[in-house]
């Protein structure tokens, strides 16, 4: 799978397409990094969110996918722009965010006397930890309930009651929304593709499987090397 072969093939494919629908992956990467850099330069004006809302979305995105030694944060990968764009196109989605962000600020004020972005980093993380924990409990409760609902033995068990619903529920629902969209934006960006080490979307004259990968997996499998 040498580079020259790959490039030749891509060129050949491009030639067969009179409109040239194929962009070399490296070239595509370059274009998108340039676009991201322009956005990061502070020129991006939110379409759906107000300044405070957008700042909160940015902070949440940074907490959800932070920078680490391998890659940048979801903010570096354009997650806030992605969320803002889709919200600007869809009122239902925008209202989920407007409501969720307002709930989050109210809850932070109640707990810490400050809006989310103005709170200490530890307080912000503490809030997200509470939401994640509440989500886990809620999921466990639902799984249990579904088993009980299916079982006539337990349904007749009048004394049984499931865990009470948490009053963090609106926050849990909102956090799930911003988390999944942030994760999507990060991992579909050139930065995320590199972070996760996806090696595909190429073009080769021959398909080969590296021996090193096969040996690695076999050694760790029940079949040995």
């Amino acid at each position: 799978m040498s580079k020259t072969t790959r490039r030749t093939i891509l060129r050949n494919i491009a030639l067969t397409l009179t409109a040239g629908g194929v962009l070399d992956t490296a070239a595509a990467q370059h274009v998108h990094e340039a676009a991201a850099a322009a956005k990061a330069g502070g020129v991006y004006k939110p379409k759906a969110f107000g300044a405070h809302q957008y700042k909160t979305v940015q902070r949440l995105a940074e907490l959800i996918v932070p920078k680490d030694e391998k890659s940048g944060s979801a903010v570096d990968a354009g997650a806030p722009e992605f969320i803002d764009l889709l919200c600007s196109q869809n009122k239902d989605l925008a209202n989920i965010y407007f409501g969720g962000l307002a709930w989050l600020d109210a809850e932070m004020r109640r707990r810490h006397g400050k809006k989310f972005v103005d709170a200490e980093a530890a307080q912000q993380a503490g809030m997200l930890d509470l939401l994640v924990e509440a989500e886990r409990r809620e999921r466990a409760r639902r799984a249990e309930e579904s088993v009980y609902e299916r079982s006539t033995v337990y349904r007749d068990f009048a004394g049984y009651s499931t865990h009470a619903r948490t009053d963090l529920a609106p926050g849990v629902v909102f956090f799930d929304w911003i988390r999944k969209m942030t994760v999507d934006a990060f991992y579909t960006s050139p930065m995320g593709v590199k972070d996760i080490e996806y090696k595909g979307n190429g073009a080769y004259s021959k398909y080969e499987v590296p021996v090193a990968a096969l040996e690695y997996a076999l050694k760790r499998s029940p079949f040995g090397a």
């Binding site: 629908g21 962009l23 959800i64 196109q89 239902d92 972070d195």
Partner: protein
Amino acid sequence: MSQIQRAAEVHDVVVIGSGAGGGSAVQVLTEKGIKVALLEAGPMLDVRKEFKEHKWPHDYDHRGAEEGGKFYFGKGKDFGFFTTVSGGWQLEGEPYTVGEGSQFQWFRSRIVGGRTNHYGRMSFRFSDYDFKPYSKDGLGWDWPISYEDIAPYYDKAEEFIGVCGSVEGIRSAPDGKFHTPPPAKVHEVLIKKASEKLGIPCIPNRRAVITKALHGRAPCHYCGQCGRGCQTASAYSSSQVQIFPAMKSGRLKVYDNAMAREVLTDGNGKATGVVYIDKKTREERTIRARVVILAASACESSRILLNSKTKEFPNGVANGSGLVGRYLMDTVGFGLSGYVPAFEGMPHYDTDGYGGAHLYMPWWMWDKHDQLDFPRGYHIEIGGGYGMPSVGSFHGAARTFGYGKKMKEEIRREYGCRVGFAGRGEMIPNQNSYCELDRNVVDQWGIPVLKFHFKWSDHEWKQARHMEKTFAAIIEGMGGKVSGLSAAQRESQGISVPGTIIHEVGTARMGKDKRDSVVNGFCQAHEVKNLFVCDGAVFVSNPDKNPTLTINALTWRAMDYLADEMRKGNV
């Protein structure tokens, strides 16, 4: 029929539908010098506009979630933004209904090439015993043809469309004329080791993808995106491989956006043409032809037959048997995935390959039914590897691991460590599964729509339970852990929703006796000699072999017969 323009051109043959059956009919007939008119209910395919091959999610501001994030509300394109699906489970203004107590989903394509533009390209020959199922176990009916009758046409079809595979000598999976298959990926090598320990053969997959140049088509370049449509036509589609070349021959005229309503007959048992609605003008039009071929997909062809009512054919043309619409079958589907720690930390490589799995497991117990509590069998399709990160790829992992640096690390660790198994099994035709005209509903073209009724029987449920146990044993044999639904949930939800495997067949079956079938072994209507059905409707049974290759082969055989009959003046 007084409105028919007398001066209208009379074509040799009119074909309705441009998928595997219509494409093959067009190819074979035009090669023989016969002039064909092709009706397609959707638009002409523009490969460059329609196929998103090689695009990245970040080539789009919405990353594939579509405008306003439709994906997040379950309203995105069926099978995702990047696939080349021009159609779907629901089409605007073209409804279908489902009877009380039934579930059925009907996938329809509306574009030249139909579902062949994006299908899985699985290309399995039926086995000898698949044509004589009744003789084997007393269920269903035998086909009027045998493996020997169709084998030369499997050869022709494979050689023409191009299929990868290997010669194995396994009775359930007859060998064919194959291109060299690509090598097994790492997870597939482990799956093969685990399955062979259980006595299940695991062999190179058989897909309609070429690995050497064929009729001007470039060999596969291993981007793995066949579902998006293949710009180089290295993966077979009837549009690029059969219809476009036929258009160049000058013997094919394509009428797109032409929604067929009924077959016209002359009152003396002969078809004279087709009435269709021109979708652009909403005008009713007529095409006259010496021969009419229905290839609109099993249920759509049946709908046209049922809607073609005359004094001579009060139950619909060619439906003296009353069997049109009856014995609708889909494939039995069940899936299970697992997490395999052996892949954690493995050096990543490109697992896209030739699109879909490089190995599969054919049915292995055809002579061991005394050990089973269900008839017939299934094959196993496998999945795994490092998929292109897309919207939704990591939602599950994110929910499991919360947020932050830990989530990031866990996503890296888990990526590429899952394997998936999909069983594709044979359903026994039953009386409770059929489609009929809904007397109360018409589509936006004024054509009465179909109403579906469907029930899995115990045969199918028991087969799905066998799949589940088998897949779990393979996953555990690899040192993996079954993930997803709990055992209790699998027990109650563990079979595909009827229709969703998109192998619906059987609604105008072939047979020797006109009281017991709609068409003969050459796909020719018993009651109307110049009317043919060339799609899954003619299937007598629905073996665990995906239907497309058999539709190609049956059609080729039928068209050879038709050309002969036309030459002799019999049709």
